[in-house]
Each structure stands twice: as C-alpha cells, then as structure tokens.
Amino acid sequence: MRRLFLAALAAGCLSGPAHAGPVTVRDAFGRTVTLPAPPQRIVTIFASNTEMVAALGLADRVVGIEAYTRFPPEVLGKPLVGGRLGFSVDAVVAERPDLVVVTPARQAANQLVDPMERLGIPIVVLLHRSVAEVLDNIRLLGRIGGVAERGEELAARLQSRLDRIKQRVAGLTEPSTIMITGRLGNGLLLIARPGTYTGDAIVRAGGRFALDSGAIAQVSPEAILKADPDVLLFAGSDKDLKELIARPGWKDMRAVKDKRAHAVVRAELLIPGPRTIDGIERLAGILHPQAATR
C-alpha cells in the first residue's frame, strides 16, 4: 500500500508541475477540452462529479451544483443550477464558471454541452460504465483541475483497496446475486446489470449475476423469484427491504430464508465516486462474510 502510494506520488512529480500552462483532456464523448489555466470556478452537475471534485480538495472552487447533491457537506448551500426539471443555461452562465463537469444523465449533457461550447466555457462530459472508469474520471478531473498528482494519488489509493478486495475474494465461490436498485410504479423492479459500475461493483466484490436481463434494467418480480439468487441486495433502507420481501412468494426465496437479503447504501453504490469503493468493500463483506478476516 505504502509503496503504491509513493509510486503514485513519484509519478505525479515526474509528470511535472501540473499547474503551469494549458491542459488538454479528451472526455467520454471523445471531445477535446482545453483549459488555459487551472479552473477557479467549477460547476459540477450531479452528486458523483461534485464528490470527485471535492475529493480532490477542490470543494471551495465549486460554484454551482444541482438539487440532488447531498454530499459532501461543504458544497451544500452552493447555488443550484438545475434539478428535476432540467438544467438552466442562464443559471450556469450566471456563475461565470471556467469549467463545467457533467454526466449524460437526465437532460444535463443535452441541455448544457451545446450552449457552453458556443460560449467557449470548457465543459467535460464523464461516463462511468465501470469502476475503472470512475477511477479514470478522478484522474482526469485531477489533471484538468490542476491537481494531477492528487488525482493520481487518490486513484492509486482507491485502486489498492480494490486490489485488496480482489485478493480477499479470490478463489471463493461467487454467490449468485441480484441487486434491486429501484422500483417502478408499474410493479417492475430495476436491477443492477453487467456493463454498469454498479454491476462491476458486484463482480469486484466477488458476486456473479443471478439474472442477466441484457440491456434492459427493468425486470418483473417473477423473474427475480425464478432466478432465486443466493444473495438478494436492495439499494435502499432496511424498512423498504422488509416491505419488499414481505410480498407474497418472496418469503420462500432462498436468499430470504437463508437471511441473505441485505440493504446496501444507495449513496455508495448508485453514485459513481470515491465512496463506491467503500460500497464494494462492504459488499464483499456481505457476499463473503467468512473471508472478512482473510
């Protein structure tokens, strides 16, 4: 761990002073974004991007967030530039940002990339299809934020924690797992699936998918009953989990009978940032309780 840490520091130093001159990065849409100088006024759209920027020690430079950002405390109370109904170009521009960080969820990329490009305000689009991509995002934000070495260091620290989890669960039989991430009004359930960072988190914690729904995230409760996983995870509160497994038929599910139905923390597994690693560590403990001491 310490060696990795030092190596990362060295790499950071070797890459030269990051705060001099313009920085160019390529974002998730393949766009080339150049910042003439480290940003001083950053608008971060979505909790994940805000958290990553804050984790790099740049929370005091955040000048705008969206309404569903709840963490970390030091960014709460910053001006809101969007919420449930979309994002305001006016509100973003009013903050005179020199960097906007956005993820193509809700309508954010749709509503903001084009106007910011026209106004010459650098805007970076990030994706998070895997945990590795989340770490890449941290590195990229470090580079563009003028704190490249801090980004490398943080990513290396998180990576070494991931490596440790990998060692811990190596060689153990993977329990078949379903993680329910949401419920829809029509009775269908949303589940974590391969090709997403949440799905990746399950695999990295030593689980395997009990049900491959393909590209479609919504499945019927019957499909989950039929898949009868070893472990049933619910991203939400214990109370909602109890309510869920109180449904007719669910009591007889193997995971429920074996007391292997667990609530997991939404903020860790449904916000792709540094806390996702906490979530994977916790998840590994749930999937492989016997290996916790390994």
């Binding site: 809101l80 530039v81 969007g82 919420g83 449930r84 109904l85 979309g86 994002f87 305001s88 170009v89 006016d90 509100a91 521009v93 009013a94 005179r96 993820t103 193509p104 969820a105 809700r106 309508q107 749709n110 509503q111 084009d114 106007p115 026209r118 106004l119 994706l127 991430t181 949303l190 997403t196 590209a215 479609i216 995230a217 919504q218 449904l270």
Partner: protein, 330 residues
C-alpha cells in the same frame, strides 16, 4: 370586417413586443438596454449568452409558432372542422417516434442534426403513410383519412412507448424524450436559424398557393366540384403540403400542444375566413403565442425549464375558452 391595415399593424407590433419580452425573459432577466448592448457586439459573457443562445431560441420559437399557425389553417380548411389540428394525421406520433430514435439510439451522427432530421422524416412519413392507407383502402375522403390517422397514431405511439421502455436506464433518461414530446424549442445556431427562416418563408408561399382552393372547398364538396375542383386530389395535395409545414415545426420545436388549434380561430376573428389573409394572420398569432409561452417556459420556474407544450396548454387553454365564450355570446 375591421380595417385590415390596423389589424396587421397591431399583429406585427405585438409580435415585435413578444420577441423583445421573450429575449429579456430567462432565469437571469435582461433589460432591453442589455439586449441593445449585446446586439451592438459587447463581448461580456452575459451579452454573448443573449446573442449566441437566447435570441436564436426566441426567434426559433416565433418561427415554430408561425409554422403551427399555418399548419392549423390548412388542416382546419381541408377537413372543414374547427377541431382539426396540425397533428391530426399521425404527424405527432411519427415525429415523436423519430425523435425517440434520435435521442435514445446511439447513431453515428450528431444529435443536433439527427433530431430535426428524424422528427421531420417521422412527421412527414406518418402523414404520407396515412394518405397511402386511405388510398389503398379506397377511402380518400376526410373521414377515411381521419380514421387511418387515428390507427397510425396508435401504432406509432405504442412503438415509441416500447422504445422508451426498452432503451432507457439510469444514464439515458426518459426525461429527454418526454421533455421533447412535451414541446421544447431547440436553440439553433445562426446559420440553422437562417435555414429555418427560409423554410418558414417557403411554407408561407406554399400554403398561400392553396388559399384560393381552400376557400372553394370551404363552400362544401358539392359546390367545390361544381367550381371545377378535383376535391380528392386537392385534399391529398393540401394535406401533404400541410404536413411538410407541420413536420418543419415539429423538427425545430417538438410537439407544442394547442397552438395549431387555437391560432387559426383567433386569426379568423381578426381577419375573417378568407384564406389569403387568414394564413399570414394565423402565422403571426401562432408566432406571438409560442414566443410568449416559450418566455414563460424559460423563466417561470428557475433553475428548471417547463416544457413548452405544457405552458401553451395550461396558459393558452383558459385564454382560448374565454375568447370562445365571449365570441359565442355576441
């Protein structure tokens, strides 16, 4: 009828006012002086926001409203029904399907090109399909077309719903599609705005060519035939022309409820039922209504934006009912 010159002047003035109000409105209100400074080439970020982003959007909203006004007149004229509206023959369903594909399916083209293109293709294609169906089934009259339109709209709506269910997840949200379907003027770049202006002018010219025959058709089919009009053929031609107009409106403005229905009625009260003055008047009314509604949509609920179609329906509905009631009393 009132003196037409006054009416035209009043309509033109109202449109200019609406555009100025629209350009001032936003989450960050501007004054007319700010507009002037921005137009004079001020390079401050706020001024550039007005020139690069807000003003093109306001002008696009006006043009979209104008197109809807034209489309409404054509469809009400062809079907001789005051309830006819531009989205009658499947164009709404087709456009929404095209837009859903553009918004949710990753294709190798930038969305700013793909969205108007597919929306246009969907809107026009659906109407052509409706005419084709009624032709094949030998029912090329208004009733046959309406029924075919209802059926096609139902099929397209179901297809769109399925695509929305199947292709959305946490990252590709239904909201994108929903907000487009509920009406949202895309902000064009200045060259694209120029293109939209040309298209709109072309549409006005195209529909004006139909004006005389729409008047004749308004006398009733028997009379129209007596006047030497090939009614079946004319209806098909007029509907195709109307659907081009509507498809253009949909491509740049999404589905904006209610304007296409209301604008022709308001215009008829102002300039009477003859189509030559009615078409431009309805276009002006539509432009004014959509410009103001878009201003409300952008400014009312910061930092969010209300979908335009909701504003036109919620604010326009009662207004239209009031006008209608006053009209019926006199």
């Amino acid at each position: 009828m009132r003196e037409p010159i006054h009416t035209w002047l009043a309509l033109g003035l109202a449109l200019v006012l609406a555009i100025v109000v629209g350009a001032c409105a936003g989450h960050d209100w501007a004054t007319p002086a700010d507009l002037w400074r921005a137009a004079a080439g001020d390079q401050a970020l706020r001024s550039r926001l007005l020139v690069e982003w807000r003003i093109p959007r306001v002008l696009a909203a006006a043009l979209v409203g104008g197109l809807l006004g034209l489309g409404g007149v054509i469809f009400q004229g062809v079907f001789r029904n005051p309830l006819a509206e531009p989205y009658l023959l499947g164009s709404a369903g087709g456009a929404a399907l095209g837009a859903t594909v553009a918004l949710l399916v990753p294709l190798a083209m930038p969305q700013s090109v793909l969205l108007p293109l597919l929306a246009f293709a969907g809107a026009w294609g659906a109407t052509v399909l409706v005419i084709g169906i009624s032709r094949v089934s030998g029912a090329v009259d208004a009733a046959g077309m309406l029924l075919a339109g209802v059926a096609v709209a139902a099929i397209l709506g179901a297809l769109r719903s399925f695509l929305m269910l199947a292709l959305s997840d946490e990252t590709v949200s239904l909201q994108i599609v929903l907000s487009w379907v509920l009406g949202g003027v895309q902000t064009p770049s200045w060259p694209v705005l120029g293109l939209l202006t040309l298209i709109s002018a072309g549409c006005l010219g195209l529909t004006l060519l139909l004006a005389g025959r729409l008047d004749v058709l308004g006398l009733g089919e028997t009379m129209a035939v007596a006047f030497g009009l090939n009614v079946t053929r004319f209806i098909a031609v007029a509907v195709l022309a109307g659907s081009v107009v509507v498809a253009a409106a949909v491509a740049f403005g999404g589905l904006v409820a209610f304007v296409g229905l209301a604008a022709p009625h308001i215009a008829r009260w102002l300039v009477g039922p003859l189509h030559r003055p009615l078409l431009p008047a309805s276009a002006l009314v539509g432009a004014i209504v959509v410009t103001l509604a878009d201003a409300i949509a952008r400014a009312a609920l910061p930092p969010a934006e209300i979908p335009l179609g909701l504003v036109t329906a919620v604010a326009g509905g009662p207004f239209f009912i009031m006008l209608l009631a006053r009209r019926l009393r006199t």
